[in-house]
Amino acid sequence: MRALDYVRASSVEQAVASHSKSPSASFLAGGTTLLDLVKLDVMPADQVIDVNHLSLKQIEVQKDGSVRIGALVTNTALAQHDYIVEHYPVLSQALLSGATTQLRNKATTAGNVMQRVRCNYFRDGHSACNKRQPGSGCAAIDGHNRSVHAVLGTSEQCIATHPSDMCVAMAAIGAKVQMQGAKGSRSIDFLDFHLLPGTTPWKEHALLDDELITHIVLDAPLAGSQSGYLKLRDRASYQFALASSAVIVQMDGDTVREVRIAMGGVGTKPWRAVEAERSLKGAKLTPQNIEKAAALALQGARPYRHNAYKIALGQQAIVRNLSTLSA
């Protein structure tokens, strides 16, 4: 591993100040992405600021039912938390479908939001990759693009999928990302946090250089709703999604009052299927309506050489998830 300086932060302010002094530093939480990529020399950090000792490990249920999750809450702790299991099953299921026990024990909530893509051309350290080396091109567009490459939200510069399962559930639930920088704290909508690759694929999120995510605040759960996460992948465990869906449905008799649909494995960011949701509101959950919504969710998808199957698979991830919830 490359040589690096290590700084242990004892407060958010100190962590931010350290980063301001050393712009090429990286905040270190679980380390499951950062240290992996430092070893591969893909993330050339010369200093890590260890934030593990900040008091950001609480899960707080607020009066309106929303939940404020500290940035350092581990994926395991969040998935197992009683309130999350009861009121946001989609989130607990998504977390438990990701990675492995040991990795979830280390990985944090904010770190999961910040995880990097799994595209081999990004990770190999030498292929053309605009994320790793802006302007070098994208080897994936004409390369092996079957498993971790998107059909939605791609550009001529990058087609890598966002790898997180947790973020797909959060995109469906609705959330705010709270962050703190040298100039103070701010909060933005979760759906605005991750950026499409466009012409700047190296710019993956809305954080400014010295900003640290401090909390994720989930919207209050929809009363009486049902939710679930369905992940389709090459093997039954410990594998990134080829396609996944996070679905939350709130019924009013036999019609849909409110529905949220988000997808993983098919988009360059956690993908909210707004058109699909709109088509279902006020409708009955018939097989025809569900299939129509699924088709709308993948409308405008652009297949690449090896991943055209994801259009059908993404639709089926929605169809099966919604059908199971409404059965």
């Binding site: 690096l4 290590y6 380390g31 240290l35 593990n52 395991t76 990795l103 024990n105 280390k106």
Partner: protein, 220 residues
């Protein structure tokens, strides 16, 4: 129960400390074979760890002074800031039972416990773990007796080459204490999916874990 056929009852009388395969087994679980001695070899591994002297010189320019607590023993060492916990355990503390497989958090061979929780030690810097209680495979045996999960792996032949075994055992020990993880075979397979066995000994690993679960219930 598991789908593993029951072992021959005539062979179930395990003789843990005298069986002729002991030496090979111990090597397979990663305990350093230092010398023939009367004490169980896993005790010797802890003695080798205890014999590691603290660094007395001030740290060099590219080092930090770190205090690490491993298997109940405290060590003051001068280590580079980029030293991975895994490498410090193996190269400085002589605890070579913890294995380096992929070195990227994908195989689980390096699994250790930090404050009782299983983690990949390859994806941790040692510096992150000052003040933590670290336990390696060598620290599982108590009072000269192997942990019930170690005994179960032995009894059920839950390995072939043995390289992944210490990681498998560390994951299994943590999993069996976790009330959130189901007791059925499917839940065990899912919870253990971060430990890859290239020999494919999964069937016996599962059997060993489920058998250890029963033993642990009897103990408690």
């Amino acid at each position: 129960m598991t789908d593993q056929p029951e072992t021959n009852p005539n062979e179930s009388d395990l003789k843990p400390f005298t069986a002729p395969s002991r030496r090979n087994f111990l090597k397979s679980i990663g305990v350093t074979s230092l010398a023939a001695a009367t004490a169980p070899i896993w005790t010797q591994a802890l003695e080798a760890q205890a014999a590691v002297a603290d660094d007395t010189d001030p740290p060099a320019a590219d080092e930090r002074r770190m205090t690490l607590k491993v298997n109940g023993q405290t060590h003051a060492l001068n280590l580079p800031a980029n030293a991975a916990l895994l490498d410090v355990l193996r190269d400085r503390l002589q605890l070579t039972g913890t294995k380096k497989g992929c070195d990227h958090g994908q195989c689980g061979a390096c699994t250790v416990h930090v404050n009782g929780t299983a983690i990949n030690s390859c994806l941790s810097l040692a510096a992150m773990h000052e003040g933590d209680e670290i336990t390696t495979i060598e620290g599982l045996a108590k009072d000269g007796k192997l942990h019930p999960v170690q005994e179960a792996f032995w009894e059920h032949d839950a390995y072939q080459c043995g390289y992944c075994t210490s990681g498998q055992i560390m994951s299994a020990v943590a999993m069996l204490k976790d009330p959130h993880i189901g007791k059925d075979d499917h839940s065990v397979r899912e919870a253990m999916s971060g430990n890859i066995c290239r020999c494919g000994a999964y069937k016996n690993i599962l059997t060993a874990i489920q058998s250890a679960r029963i033993k642990l219930q009897e103990v408690s």
